[in-house]
Amino acid sequence: MKRFWAIFKKEFRQIARDPLSLGLLVFIPALLLILYGYALSFDVKHIRMAVVDYDRTQASREFLDSLFQNAYFDPAGVLGSIREADRVLDRGQARGVLVIPRGYDGALVRGGPVDVQVLIDGADATTANTTAGYLDALAEGATREAQWNMRQRSMAAPSLPAVLPIPRVWFNPELESARFLVPGLIALLLMLSAVVATSLSIVREKERETMEQMMVSPLRPEELVLGKTIPYVLICLVTMAMVLLLGYFLFGVAVRGSFLLLGLATLLFLFAALGMGVLISAITSSQQVAFQVAVIASLLPSIILSGFIFPIRNMPLPIQAITLVLAPRYFVSALRAIILKGAPFRAIWPDLLAMLILGAAFNLLAAHKTKKALWT
């Protein structure tokens, strides 16, 4: 116990004295959260739309009004003819051009279908997709309104789809990216501290040959490993609290589920991540190599393969298989369930179990390799 405390205290002293690791552990998470939270947004708002109105009737004006009434579209000028559309799209003056044909009003009155043309700048596929989606919904609204108006005038209803899907999004009704990203970001940041910082802190001892001095002492391997990892567990918990607070105040992401469950999921994840960090430190002998291995083995997967940004379900099967052995995948899923849905234990236990198994595997392997690497 005394030996553990000696390492524990020393580790904190060194972290406090090393501006680089302090920055890595404290400022980078905050910076990343703000960067990702604000910049990495899939929400599309303020799309500049130009319009060409060949109809110029009450109905067409109502449709355009409803287009610009919300925050999604901003008017980018009225064009005289469709020939100008090319120009405004090329120059980026508008992301899309809406063309209302002559006879729009008449067609609506007759109850026949009417086509409205939209030209969308497809250079940014995400935005283009979203724009098309918004316009779809808008057109649908316009149709329903027309239907209502006609009923009022007690005319025959226009041909409408009989069944309309009305999606209602739960847990994140506005489909805000930040809500979706904050849980993933927690996983990423904890991975950064846990794997990279831990492996570096052990390899640093090897590189500076202070490891040898510890190995000739009665220190036991588990005391060394615990003394080296527990400080990072604490730092990770502080990081986590900080990210949750920032997420709440900056992006309004509140934890709906139980904090106890959140803590349990975090500890299980850290168990796996630290095992991985110790494993990396056992198989590398310089900080540079350890850093590269840690980034490739942990940081990249936790950004790309964890479902943080890209849904796992959309990945090719072999890559989906790889994600099965990545702890961040389960952690991201558990975090989203706990934070956004307030999921109870019985909903997320498979994720927790997976992390426990992965953690046990990493730690056994790490213990074996460390023992072999240090106490030969």
């Binding site: 500076r208 000739v216 009665p218 220190l219 106490w375 030969t376």
Partner: protein
């Protein structure tokens, strides 16, 4: 009888009689093979309590490998050793409690202060708080670091770092001390101070096993083991080594032109080997072949400009140079 010491006294330290004959380190056929390379080849020796045992030999001879095996940093391929009565392979944890180890790298935390380093190593050795306070004060005094306790270890001079490293290695007052080239990179006065500390500890019963390249340091050792190619080629007191290691007669020759003359001297019948000694040449000759005068005549006959030839006594350095290459004619 001493092989049973560990069993008889199942405690941290062993009670020993004062006569210094009871071996504290017993090395028995210790061997280390790295792949195809045999770094340490069946070493046998023992070190009694309170002795300073010097380990000498060229780079790569296996000195550090041996020390690392005795400290439990490396496992042995074959053979074994007991340190403080405990077997290094079967009981490495007990061994570690009884030893202090310091290497040429002065393994300190350069980003921690002097006191923080001491506190850390004290903690690693599990010292109780009051004992740590006592020992920390003693170590600071011993290392001459009074007033520098708050300095970062990395900003200390080499000599201070060396003494702090020694201090950290002996915080737990180990009865056995392993020093692997402890004085490399330290000025002569500081080296002398360091050896005063070592001799003082040895006089109080600490057993010291030290490797060095410095001949003056070898003279401080009670006995010297000379290791070459992983084998122990000589083991004796410094004076006996000087007397016995070199069977040839030694002459110091001063030549007018040293350029290329070493090979010419060695080609003279009766000359076994030569080595540079300052601006002169040390010439090892088969016993009874030459006197100083007849050697000078032989060299002059060969056309060399000889300034002086003097019969000299063998120094430790001469002995080691001959021991490092006993088969060859010339030695570096």
């Amino acid at each position: 009888m001493f092989l049973n010491v560990g069993l008889l006294n199942n405690k941290r330290t062993i009670t020993l009689n004062r006569n210094g004959t009871e071996p504290v380190i017993v090395v028995d056929g210790l061997t280390k093979v790295f792949g195809r390379f045999t770094a340490v080849d069946h070493l046998h020796f023992s070190v009694p309590r309170g002795e300073i045992f010097g380990f000498l030999g060229p780079n790569g001879a296996g000195k550090s490998t041996t020390i690392r095996m005795l400290c439990g940093l490396l496992s042995s391929t074959e053979g074994t050793a007991t340190v403080g009565g405990y077997d290094i392979n079967r009981d490495p944890e007990r061994v570690r409690q009884n030893i202090g180890y310091m290497s040429q790298k002065f393994s300190l935390y350069k980003d921690l202060t002097v006191s923080e380093n001491i506190a850390f190593f004290g903690g690693v050795y599990g010292l109780a708080r009051t004992r740590l306070r006592e020992r920390a004060a003693a170590v600071v005094r011993l290392a001459g670091l009074t007033g520098l306790e708050k300095r970062l270890a990395g900003t200390l001079s080499g000599a201070h770092q060396q003494r702090l490293a020694l201090g950290c290695a002996i915080l737990h007052e180990p009865p056995i001390l392993f020093l692997d080239e402890p004085t490399s990179g330290v000025d002569p006065i500081s080296r002398r101070l360091f050896w005063d500390l070592i001799q003082d500890m040895a006089s109080r019963g600490v057993t010291v096993l030290v490797t060095t390249h410095f001949m003056d340091e070898a003279e401080f050792c009670g006995r010297i083991g000379f290791i070459s190619g992983g084998r122990l080629v000589a083991l004796d007191t410094p004076s006996a080594l000087k007397r016995d290691a070199v069977r040839e007669e030694l002459y110091e020759v001063s030549l007018a032109d040293m350029q290329g003359s070493r090979e010419r001297v060695e080609s003279v019948p009766g000359v076994v080997a030569t080595s540079y000694f300052g601006r002169n040449l040390h010439v090892f000759c088969r016993p009874g072949t030459f006197t100083a005068e007849s050697l000078q005549q032989a060299l002059v006959r060969d056309g060399m400009g000889v300034q002086s030839v003097e019969s000299v006594s063998v120094s430790l350095e001469d002995a080691f140079i001959r021991l490092a290459a006993p088969a060859g004619k010339a030695a570096a």
